[in-house]
């Protein structure tokens, strides 16, 4: 499945679903009733229109093209104060993370090594993702509490920690947002397993003498045992 799928069929698919769903609401139960399509031919008339105000309260997503950016602005400098009080305890003063909390900076050049560090600067493809995520999920345990200005400021500061923004006086806003690009964007590509891993579709899987010699144990979980002890998890009660 990928973006390159032919979505030109959309209209057709909608028509098909209307046609395929031959069940008419309220029709007598005649045919063998197993697994008939549940899509009605006509609209059900269930649900009411959502108001503009209701949508505005919940519609908080931001896309890479800037769709959804709220009004507001904030500088790196302003963001530093917010970051230190609301973020640094988990993510570290420099974004290096405390304990197992997610790292937000560093790791440049590490992705092709066996110790990859996937930070905003080293891995994330889009700055919009950072802002969208802070807006909906952060601070952890006090989500959706930042003002739009605070959101812009703290986003700017995290980008500054990642050397994406280099000027402390930089002011992030819907206008300046479009100038921000993350370096790893070109290194993502759509799922290609069905071609790249075509060899996993095999006509006749091997049934006998599939590998040479006898199997030897090459690694054991017990040696590096990190399995939790019984009773440490939640009790069933």
């Amino acid at each position: 499945m990928s973006r390159s799928l032919k979505f030109a069929l959309t209209g057709l698919a909608l028509a098909a679903l209307a046609g395929a769903g031959a069940t008419i609401v309220g029709a007598p139960d005649v045919a063998p009733a197993q697994e008939r399509a549940a899509a009605p031919v006509k609209k059900l008339g269930i649900g009411r229109e959502a108001t503009t105000q209701e949508i505005a309260g919940w519609d908080i997503d931001i896309r890479p093209d800037g769709h959804g950016l709220p009004p507001g602005k904030g500088t790196v400098k302003q963001g530093e104060d917010i970051y230190m009080t609301q973020c640094a305890a988990c993510h570290g003063e420099f974004g290096e993370s405390a304990g197992r909390w997610p790292i937000v900076s560093g790791g440049s050049g590490s992705l092709a090594t066996h110790d990859p560090v996937k930070s905003v600067g080293s891995y994330w493809p889009y700055a919009s993702t950072l802002m969208d995520y802070i807006r909906r999920s952060m601070p952890f345990g006090n989500a959706q509490s930042l003002s739009n200005d605070e959101l812009y400021a703290v986003t700017a500061y995290v980008l500054y920690l990642n050397d994406i923004i280099r000027d402390e006086s930089f002011e992030l806003s819907a206008q300046t947002f479009k100038s921000v690009r993350l370096p790893n964007e070109p290194n993502f590509y759509d799922d290609d397993r069905e071609t790249a891993e075509k060899a996993f579709w095999r006509k006749e899987p091997c049934m006998s003498n599939c590998l040479p010699g006898r199997a030897a144990v090459t690694g054991r979980a017990r040696v590096l045992d990190v399995t939790p002890e019984p009773g440490k998890g939640p009790k069933v009660e």
Binding site: M1, R3, Y133, A216, A221, V223, L224, V226, P234
Partner: protein, 428 residues
Amino acid sequence: MTQHDDGPRPLPSRRALLRAGLAGGAVALGGPALAQLGKTNPANLPPNVADWSKMLGDGVAVRTYGKPAKFESHIGRRDVSWLTASPQSSVSFTPLHEIDGPITPNGLCFERHHAGIAELNPTDYRLMLHGLVDKPLMFTLDDIKRMPRVNRAYFCECAANSGMEWRGAQLNGCQYTHGMVHCVMYTGVPLKVLLQEAGVKPNARWLLLEGGDASAMTRSLPLQKALDDALVAYRMNGEMLYPENGYPVRMVIPGWEANMWVKWLRRIEVGDQPWHTREETSKYTDLLENGRARRFTYVMDAKSVITSPSPQAPVNHKSGFTVLSGVAWSGRGKIARVDVSLDGGRNWRTARLDGPVWDKAIARFYYEFDWNGGELLLQSRAVDETGYVQPTKDELRKVRGVNSIYHNNGIQTWLLHRNGEVENVEVS
């Protein structure tokens, strides 16, 4: 068969610190069931007559909502505390070794939360549907329950299931290596019914699914999948969804990674391009050996695991007739067959699928054999109806490297020792 302990030791030292306290974990894990049952009491055995054969038990409605027998109280979801920073953003695992058949009991379905369990009041539940539609709509739970509904059993597997095993055998038990999967019968409304109510505009291509918990988790869903088989579900195995599984409403995206099955569903926005949210960029993208990463890797490849014998379900007899059992599933359709090897993948025989084999659901398999009491290297290999054959771990590493975290569907090996204990191993 010889055992060598000099294989790669890929774990960070942080984890190694835990070793001292956890030595012999495999033996202990096999033990709790036996320990609970304790020693046989001759007073309960013939020719004597047990107390429960003489005295009255609880009457009806004392247990208004039934629970498993007290002797089964060791069964439960477990977590791996070193995996995550906080239990509110973490995972617990299905005890696959303690259940049978294709269906997972509701209370044992693995959990994955990003901000803890949201406790929504169903009266205040609202689902918003807006964006590129003719008419933005708001639905109550009663609205959704009034719509035409279907019943479908589907597996739900976290893309990170078996993610700790990329660099080698690490966790001793199928609960931990494979327990981020469950399979329940959902009752819900096809998503296309809701979209039809709102009227999707011709330029619509993608949907944003958003949760109502304190992470407001979001994923972009291609419209084509939404019109195919996605469900807006509110029941699991007949019961209303449990809070930890998204009560009152969650998405069901058959065959696709569980992260997309947004729980506590509060909003669906229709758009013309993907949103590239955190869960589809920073997470749930598959980093390959060359430093590049695959995105939108939705489908869960065919996979299987032997649940018994397994490290937490050792063999308790010395030799003789033995039932090997396991589960298999594929995000591309039905399981066509499962093969089993007792010699680490040299020779295979086809197992018996038993019970219903549904599309994109867990299928249960059995292989009955006479165990001679010697060491065995047990493996299972799933084949789905598209002809995809579950690869070995080495085959998978060859094409993906070891940094992917997600989508590890390599063949699992269990070493069955002569004393009946079972261990998670890797083989040549």
